[in-house]
Symmetry: D2
Subunit: 160 residues, 4 copies
């Protein structure tokens, strides 16, 4: 997993470490799902989680439950918007940033289930399509470990 250089952005490594901690551990349900955040930088939002028996939709087919997909897509889209807000306010103190984040929330989420959720692990990327003063929009994609596109998502977030 390589990280593209984004030298033009004064985006501190400490931000990324803090966001990864929040999204992997403080958002408790993400921990239940086993989400690992691989990158949380402008233009590079990536996560991964492993298939597990308790994430499947039916015993017979051993396919991922659609709700797991929706959970991860919502989370990674929210991470993209969070990173975008942080990148727009690099002069903020951590307290000011934390205050901004408490006003954030998902307005709505759409998930398209394109193929059966089969795989050993799943990779999710998210892209901020638009970040305005009031609303942000993100698009997400989930591939399995063979690179097959399993699902896409779109979500709107309130940001202030």
């Amino acid at each position: 997993v390589t990280r593209p250089a984004t030298p033009e952005l004064p985006y501190p490594d400490a931000f990324e470490a803090t966001l990864i901690d929040i999204f992997e551990r403080q958002i408790v349900f993400n921990q239940v799902l086993g989400l690992k955040v691989l990158a949380a930088r402008p233009g590079d939002i990536r996560g991964r989680f492993a298939m597990r028996d308790d994430l499947i939709g039916t015993r017979a087919h051993h396919r991922l439950h659609g709700g797991v997909t929706a959970s991860i897509l919502d989370t990674m889209g929210g991470l993209a918007i969070t990173v975008g807000i942080a990148a727009n306010h690099t002069g903020d103190t951590p307290e000011q940033l934390a205050q901004r984040f408490t006003r954030m929330g998902t307005i709505d989420l759409r998930v398209d289930y394109l193929r059966q959720g089969l795989g050993r692990h799943f990779d999710v990327t998210a892209e901020t399509v638009r970040l305005g003063g009031r609303v942000g929009s993100a698009q997400m994609r989930m591939h399995n470990d063979e690179g097959v596109l399993i699902a896409t998502g779109t979500a709107a977030y309130i940001v202030s």
Copy 2:
């Protein structure tokens, strides 16, 4: 929890018991979420789950993770469509019905997060808006234990 009489439908209690078993236990992730199916009959699709520490989005606010909401809404919409298919094919053998269900799947899901996911437990209802030969559409609603509407959902399902 009372169940409205639906005497006109030859909908066997055994169907309902089987569906409840599938949705509560065989769909493993529903078990992780603690979903209880209260009713799985035509015109009466209801479930409930309790708030738990491992379902929250952030430690600070003790709000439900949006992915939990999405998971439960998707599941209950799928249950509504499943019941609709069963009700349309009451002459089927259990094997024929099981065969029908393997061809079912969620096409896409929209969730609207209307209010913060605060509550001791959450009640979800689902309604089949349309069930055709190829596609079904369901709408879902989630209230907390004080009757506050927390989220709504709409989903499309492929049915054959």
Copy 3:
């Protein structure tokens, strides 16, 4: 077409007349579609439009174009939110209200096409599901002149 009494709300008839004028005439594209607003009051948001040759999707089938459906659903949902804002600010001057409306906009829209758009005219209702300080959510339904449900919609609106 009867109008339910809403005596508890100090909702002036002049508001309704103004909103009907805005939505039927000032929103020019609604005039192209031939939308008539039948009611624009809290709890009663209704519109109607006639089938016309220039609204069809294909000459062969004489079915409504899906975009017409989407246009009308978006408009009627926006009307529901507009009425909700007006009802929450009955002390406002017309200028203050107009100022509020300029900050409004559709964030996103989902349309479910349930049945073929066949009919002589179509009736659309909208319901405000939630109206907060920042975001509003509405659900819409479109029936044909025989009472068949043709489409449903859900939309989120920014309100300030």
Copy 4:
């Protein structure tokens, strides 16, 4: 407007001409909107329409009505799926293809309104994200004449 070469696909120019005729003229409402299809080939689905006074949402702001955006996005996504079906069945007679298309329809559509619909004309592209035997999924983007992303869309289509 240049067209990328797709020499590997036995996709006849006559198909493209026929589809352009269908989408520009036989789908009557597209004619009302003034849609011009610039490309209807696998991997290259593009359309354009000019701003006009009768397409605006409000006289005061001269912004595109959201329904126009939804109409064009739905149409161009449907064109992408149609092209995908044609490309998968190049051995079909025109009658067989026409038969396939009559079974097609939009299941549901999501539109995200990212920025105000201001511009002299608007360019729309569509991409088939997934085309299966029963359901297809497309994503669409609309830019104004200055290259600003105005709206995105996602739609599911029934294909057989």
